[in-house]
């Protein structure tokens, strides 16, 4: 086209980014790659092929990791872990810094390879993915440098298996590797089968940067290779980012193995626009929310919740904006969207959109010519969607937004939270009080006010509910690659000896003590167990002390329902929660002698030990009363004009299976941190010694504890734990007891991906200072990062 012609029509023309260097890199490798294990590449075996999404042409041959190769990688990582962890923090910081600088020096090559391999626009790889990846290594070089002072009571986990998705191949690699390496772990990483190239390029760069052999190992392959990694006994932790479906499988597979787990899964994130928002700004926010990376973003703002009064105007503006979007070659510098990663994804998007239309949604797609080859899908809007529609509930993982209207802030929160997911939310309003109120109320790990899809290494990212658990980035993310030193070397809890009841002796002709019936404690009331069966409580010698209710699934259901209703506790002031805990301690103290003799009677411990347990319980209540208003969030300083508030929020309704030992102290140690942070608890007390818990009802009743905050169901821990684990309205489960209990708690919690905290049958010294404090409070809270850009 001539200059004159351009002068007349003022079109953009083509602005292709050169792919010469990237193609040359591929050619140097003969388009074939092996794994990166123990510091060198294995011989390529051409076991599967990848394709270029934008053209559909073959791109590279990759190796499918076998059991032997995964084993070799884990062995290499294991061998390297100890010397890597023994390096000084400063030495590890130097390595991470070198990786960051290496990324910066080769930024354009990485960006172009990524765009070719994934199909995403060069703008995004060049301006977002690669710089952020470098930022992650720089930030975490800092945590390595500060590890000894910032985390003196924590040790690295060991060898970490990491499985990353295809939507941000290089950035996810950085998110995963940087914190793991910084804190002294070594890694076996499996990139997604569609998009492994930048991981292999990174391995090459890391090798050149002098990273010791075995510190990172990259094994390519598909799902079965991932499964080999997940199942490998030499792995201490799995960190997975991907679909909720696969996350659930991983949760089940590693249940009971003692492996740590963090999951960053799917989402159906709300994008809420109030009538006092900058509507054009919010329209542009939608572009960044759902037409970023072709909508293949776990935290994509895919549910547009629009206040009814502005919905029509907003949709009109949005459609006009859509007509200006450009879709084309990922290497064209004048596009907004590139290619969908693979034909199978394209089919899925098409099918879901068709289903949405069939259910009554109105389809709007920008009028544009899509490239004829390759995987392309236009920006798409479905209006008139109802919450019951499949497209309002399912993650589409494509450039498709749906709109739903609301009337009031309350209703916007209700709609936002009416989802199995809880990853992120975007809130648009010029009123700070409205925006922050809604930010506080939405169930999400990340909230953006008047913004969307902002990320930074200093700000934890991750979700709740079926979006997974764990955080990546910042101090909160660092803990995911550490374990408390106090947890090292814990002994297995001896199996509980069966205690058989002695046959009752014939009583004398005297007036007996008045019979006391210990019921369950649900919604602030003593309730008869649903099944109306009882279980005996015996002395160590088998004499009957009393009988307690045999709780069952329905009792758990009732207790969970009571706990859910006690939502107000989450909003009670920290001062108020502290008051209640102090009051409980006060009332327990008044009955200390009685509680001590009960412990003696049940456990056979001497008076001194029993007194010590009561005293420790009172002190622990004081500790958590103290913590209630002191386990505060923080203010992160990401590189923007604004702040990110890392708020500590309660998880919600938490089931607690108390250990058999320490009948009072165990109960207090597990429930007090949860209650202090605003959670509501359904506790199953020590199975052999439940009377400390049932005696405790009276303390609770006189301590201003609102009904439903702490519910106690006595009975057999195993079935009760199973009832809690499979209950979809329970947000987390803490299980202390046998190894089998931990296994089933973790496995069954996969149902709704509730967070778990288990001891794998290992004994906790409940009297030790490490049995309370910040490590426990971390398990009792979710970190919600609220990004608040500001400026006039």
């Amino acid at each position: 086209m001539s200059i004159a012609k351009y002068f007349d029509d003022m079109s953009y023309g083509l602005s292709p980014e050169s792919d010469t260097e990237a193609r040359a890199w591929l050619a140097r490798h003969d388009h074939s790659f092996g794994h990166f294990i123990a510091g060198s590449f294995t011989t390529p075996d051409h076991s599967f092929q990848t394709f270029e999404p934008a053209t559909g042409k073959p791109l590279a041959h990759l190796a499918r990791g076998t059991a032997a190769e995964v084993d070799a990688a884990v062995t290499a990582a294991r061998k390297a872990q100890s010397p890597w962890a023994k390096l000084t923090g400063h030495a590890r910081a130097r390595h991470l810094y070198a990786l960051a600088r290496m990324i910066q020096r080769h930024a354009r090559l990485i960006a172009v390879v990524e765009a070719i391999d994934n199909g995403k626009p060069i703008r995004e790889t060049r301006d977002i993915d690669v710089p952020l990846a470098a930022r992650h290594f720089t930030h975490h070089a800092g945590w390595a440098q500060l590890q000894a002072t910032a985390f003196p009571d924590h040790a690295p986990l060991g060898v970490v298996g990491q499985i990353i998705p295809w939507n941000f191949p290089f950035l996810m690699l950085a998110w995963k590797l940087a914190p793991a390496l910084a804190l002294g772990n070594t890694v076996v990483l499996k990139p997604a089968e569609y998009t492994s190239l930048t991981a292999l390029l990174f391995a090459e760069l890391a090798q050149a940067a002098g990273l010791p052999a075995g510190v990172i190992n990259i094994v390519t392959g598909e799902g079965d290779t991932g499964a080999l990694l997940v199942d490998h006994p030499g792995i201490d932790k799995i960190a997975f980012t991907g679909s909720t479906e696969v996350g659930r499988l991983i949760r089940q597979r590693i249940a009971g193995t003692g492996k740590s787990l963090t999951l960053e899964l799917g989402g159906k994130s709300p994008f809420i626009v109030f009538d006092d928002a900058d509507l054009d700004g919010a329209v542009e926010g939608v572009v960044d929310a759902i037409w970023f990376n072709q909508g293949q973003v776990c935290c994509a703002g895919s549910r547009l919740l629009l206040q009814e009064g502005i919905a029509e105007d907003f949709i009109r503006r949005l459609k006009r904006r859509m007509d200006n979007l450009r879709v084309g070659s990922p290497l064209d510098k004048s596009i907004d969207m590139g290619a969908i990663v693979a034909p199978v994804q394209l089919d899925r998007i098409r099918a879901l959109v068709a289903q949405g239309v069939a259910e009554g949604a109105t389809l709007y797609q920008a009028a544009m010519d899509l490239p004829t080859n390759g995987c392309f899908y236009p920006p798409t809007l479905l209006t008139g969607v109802q919450p019951a529609h499949i497209v309002a509930q399912e993650e589409i993982f494509g450039p498709v937004a749906v709109t739903i209207t609301f009337r009031t802030p309350d209703e916007s929160v209700q709609l936002a939270n009416h989802s199995r997911y809880g990853l992120s939310a975007s809130i648009w309003s010029e009123s700070i009080s409205l925006a922050l109120q809604v930010a506080a109320k939405v169930e999400a790990g990340v909230v953006w006010v008047n913004a969307t899809n902002l990320f930074d290494a200093a700000v934890g990212f991750g979700g709740r509910k079926e979006s997974g658990f764990g955080r990546e980035g910042g101090r909160e993310g660092a803990y995911e690659y550490l374990k408390p030193k106090a947890m090292l070397g814990r002994k297995l809890r001896p199996a509980q000896p069966p205690i058989t009841a002695r046959s009752a002796s014939i009583a004398d002709f005297v007036a007996p003590t008045i019979d006391r019936t210990a019921k369950l404690f649900i919604a602030g009331k003593q309730a008869r167990p649903d099944g109306n069966y009882s279980r005996p409580v015996l002395t160590p010698r088998g004499a009957l002390i009393a009988e307690v209710g045999e709780g069952n699934r329905k009792d758990i259901r009732n207790a969970v329902s009571a706990a859910r209703k006690a939502e107000a506790w989450a909003n009670a002031t920290a001062h108020n929660r502290a008051q209640v805990l102090y009051y409980i301690a006060e009332n327990l103290s008044a009955r200390a002698t009685e509680f001590a003799s009960r412990i003696s009677a049940m456990t056979g411990q001497g008076a001194a030990k029993a007194d010590a347990e009561v005293a420790a319980s009172i002190e622990r209540l004081f500790s958590y009363a103290a913590w209630a208003d002191k386990y505060e969030g923080s203010v992160h300083a990401p590189p923007l004009r604004g702040v990110a508030l890392a708020m500590h929020e309660p998880i919600g309704v938490v089931g607690v299976i108390c250990p058999p030992e320490a009948p009072l102290l165990g109960l207090i140690s597990l429930t007090a941190p949860l209650i202090a942070m605003g959670n509501r608890v359904v506790a199953v007390p020590s199975a052999p010694h439940p009377l400390s818990a049932t005696d405790f009802y009276g303390v609770l009743e006189t301590s201003d504890m609102p009904d439903g905050v702490l519910n106690i169901v006595t009975g057999d821990p195993q079935p009760l734990a199973e009832a809690l684990a499979t209950h979809a309205d329970v947000d987390a489960l803490w299980a202390f007891g046998s190894e089998a209990l931990s296994e089933s708690a973790e496995r069954l919690s996969a149902s709704n991906l509730k967070r778990t905290f288990v001891d794998h049958g290992r004994l906790t010294d409940w009297h030790h200072p490490s049995a309370e404090g910040a490590d426990w409070l971390r398990h009792a809270t979710e970190v919600k990062n609220i990004w608040i850009p500001y400026g006039v």
Binding site: M10, D127, D275, D278, E284, E430, A451, P789
Partner: protein, 336 residues
């Protein structure tokens, strides 16, 4: 950015039909509710302008064409205390023949009329410029109304406009009273602007907001709307004398109000960023914003002007570079 009620939207359609697209902005009654509902989020605005250069790019022939188009939108300006008639005549010569004929031919544009959009001077030099530009079809714009501070008595401002129109100015660049914006006195701003528009008669009026002194983008958006309601043909960022001039964020804010005004009234109001646009990179950014937010019609000089003096030289250099492949130097192009 602003709230458009469904009721009003119906009205828009009828107005658009009645007015058509080419009509000059006749203004509308001051709509205080619309002004009050205007919201601009600075950070969201910044993000849009920050990401745009990564989303749009023009290279090679397309870039040359875009720069030529920008050239035709330049209000070639001299507004210095030491201006003289001679200086103004030299500027006019440059406006009429901004490119050497050889360069223009090499670009394949020999048969096109390539001139700047206008020449912009103080009232004192209007007559000089009109005379120098006779026969070229290039309009003369006069800055007016106590430019740049705009604090002269109101009647003096009106007489200044009338005098420039009498001397042959086809365009009047007025400055608003910033105090009206800073104190939220929209009625006063509206009245002032309406008077200016009336005083201009057939001459087109550009309302200079002095955005660098209004400070907030909300102020900028509100002032833009009031000026359009009062009949401005163009809204313009700056006098060039403020510390901050035509930033991309200000452009985005102002042109979004132009779009809203067009949606509601059917009138197309022009936009003129002025000051701070010195390089081809700067001007391409402004053009991308215009095309993306307002559309193709707003890339032509009837709806887009650029207040600049040194930009032209950078465009000339860039065009020569495009032809030769080697970087150019200022001294190879006639001075303006």
């Amino acid at each position: 950015m602003t709230i458009l009620q469904p009721k009003t939207q119906a009205k828009v359609a009828s107005v658009q039909q009645a007015v058509g697209h080419a009509a000059r902005n006749a203004g509308m009654p001051l709509d205080l509710e619309w002004i009050a509902q205007t919201r601009v989020n600075q950070s969201a605005t910044d993000r849009r302008v920050t990401s745009l250069p990564g989303r749009r790019s023009v290279k090679k022939d397309a870039q040359a064409a875009w720069l030529l188009k920008a050239l035709t939108c330049i209000d070639l300006t001299t507004l210095s205390g030491d201006d003289t008639a001679g200086r103004v005549r030299r500027l006019c010569a440059k406006a009429a023949q901004p490119l050497t004929p050889a360069l223009q031919e090499a670009l394949g544009m020999a048969d096109r009329r390539i001139t700047t959009g206008a020449v912009c001077v103080y009232h004192r030099f209007v007559a000089t410029a009109v005379e120098a530009l006779a026969g070229t079809g290039i309009p003369v714009a006069a800055v007016s109304t106590g430019f740049p501070a705009g604090l002269a008595p109101h009647d003096v401002k009106l007489r200044e406009i009338a005098a420039s129109v009498a001397d042959g100015a086809a365009e009047i660049d007025i400055v608003i009273t910033r105090e009206h914006v800073l104190t939220g006195n929209w009625q006063a701003l509206y009245n002032e602007m309406r008077d200016f528009r009336a005083a201009c008669g057939a001459a087109h009026v550009k309302a200079i907001l002095a955005t660098g002194e209004l400070k907030t983008l909300r102020n900028v958006a509100q002032a833009s709307l009031v000026c359009m309601m009062a009949g401005a043909d163009f809204i313009k960022t700056s006098t060039g004398k403020e510390a901050v001039n035509a930033t991309p964020a200000v452009t985005l804010t102002m042109i979004r109000t132009i779009r809203d005004y067009h949606d509601r009234t059917g009138y197309r109001v022009g936009y003129k960023p002025a000051g701070g646009i010195a390089t081809t990179k700067d001007v391409l950014m402004q053009q991308f914003l215009m095309k993306e937010e307002l559309g193709r019609p707003w890339l032509e000089p009837d709806l887009f002007r650029i207040g600049a003096s040194s930009l032209l030289a950078d465009i000339e250099r860039q065009l020569e570079t495009h032809l030769t492949g080697g970087y150019s130097a200022f001294n190879r192009h006639p001075i303006g």
